[in-house]
Amino acid sequence: MGFENFGTVTFTTEAKTADFINYLGAGKVMATRCKKCGATYFPPRLDCPTCLSSEVEWFEVAGKGKLRSYTRVNYGPSGFEADAPYILALGEFDGVQILARLSRDIGENDIEVGMSLKVSPLKLPEGRLAYEFRRA
């Protein structure tokens, strides 16, 4: 198992970080930390380019983050036509940043750069998994 059912469209599946999907299925959005130098990674990675070490540990991206920027995408590319419009956002959390969509509960007029967010697992149709930002 890898990234076969991640996001709206899958482009590639195999990765050493496939545990991310297991955690996501269990309700957790996880990032990685190098055990040697302490660097934190999202997208999560099992190889630290500073230490050339693959000794990393997973940690949950829990707690509040803040919205750095957002855009309402009205024109989805191939494979995303049915999703549009959707709001993409960049969120900043303790030690990592994440690109994801904003929950559909939040209208564009209620969004403000700097607002508090949390990142939550999201079940999509047909057993697909993702994560999204919600109000925190």
């Binding site: 990234f3 991640f6 996001g7 709206t8 469209v9 899958t10 482009f11 590639t12 990765a15 999202f42 997208p43 750095r68 920027s69 957002y70 855009t71 309402r72 995408v73 009205n74 024109y75 989805g76 590319p77 191939s78 494979g79 995303f80 036509e81 999703d83 549009a84 959707y86 993409l88 960049l90 990592v96 940043q97 994440i98 690109l99 994801a100 969509r101 564009e108 750069v113 700097g114 993702a130």
Partner: protein
Amino acid sequence: MAEVAIVGAGQTAFSRQCGVNIRELSFEAFKEAVEGVDVAVKDIDASIVCSAPEYDKQRSPASLISEYLGLTPKPTFYVETVCSSSTTGLRVAWSMIRAGLHKIVAVIGFQKMSELSSRDAAERMGRGGDIIWESPFGLTMPAGYALYARAHMAKYGTTEEQLAKVRVKNSHYGATNPKATYRKELTLEDILNSEVITSPLKKFDCCANADGASCIIVARGDIARRMCAIPIWIIGLGAATDTMSMAGRESLTGLRCAQEAARQAYKMAGIRPKDIDVAEVHDCFTISEILAYEDLGFAKPGEGVKLLEEKQTYVDGRIPVNVDGGLLSKGHPIGATGGSQIRTIVRQLRRQATEAQVKAAKIGLVHNIGGIGQYGNVTILGR
């Protein structure tokens, strides 16, 4: 050390659908580049073909184009940094000449985007991001720049109307460029009333996909002097990168790759931003031109819009920018764009511009960005 100069620069008209194939498109740009240059095709001793992959069924287009231009058996290869491919090619050409490997090198950029539907083209561009972690959320190229636009607005109070003024300026100059896809002058209202593509960017805040080719002929200095009346010298080169993922970006109010490439290019040329007489910047979106003013040091961070509103980037201003209409008017055939920007500066420095000519321009700058700020090339040219 050998100096390196541009002796010829050409491009096709950029259009929504060119009606010819990539070899024919490239030939047209090549022909314009060698016109008026005292060079036989057999003397061009290497070629670099620059393009973004996955638009063509043709695999390995370098060989095809080399054959069609009559450049075999000289070496050729493909160079890619998406939208900045052809200025990366120029950098490689400079290096090969400086290293003494070659004397005259042709840098050919091309893209025939009309081979794909615009949705399919958007999907390809979306895969120009991180395909495991970000593309599956529906990230597109305009959406990436929209994140920068929104962040710039939040930090500096930049408005949608101010962004639209970039297009007002560029459409004004594009109207006089016979090579441009769009030659209609747009009003502020036209732009502000156009449909929202990815907020806050509207249709007219975005450049269009296009077909086109460009070609730059680069030569060792001593030969360049014999080949043409006014060699245009490559006096500064800078190149840098930023993360593929948006999640890796430290700043959303400027492109780090452009800032670093500019620093290198100014240092190599031994000049400062105020010494630039004319510039071509990568205005794939209106926000991109504002970021460029600030990343290149033409304005302080947050003050790019002021430079525009004071009309300092118009042809009679302190630092004219994109007076050929920019990508917003010309269209953006990915691999051809950097070469087209170089061509405009070459023509400005030779006082040959048929569009707005900047008076007595001696030093010009080209800012060419690949992807959503993943690659940045800054090239400084002098006469």
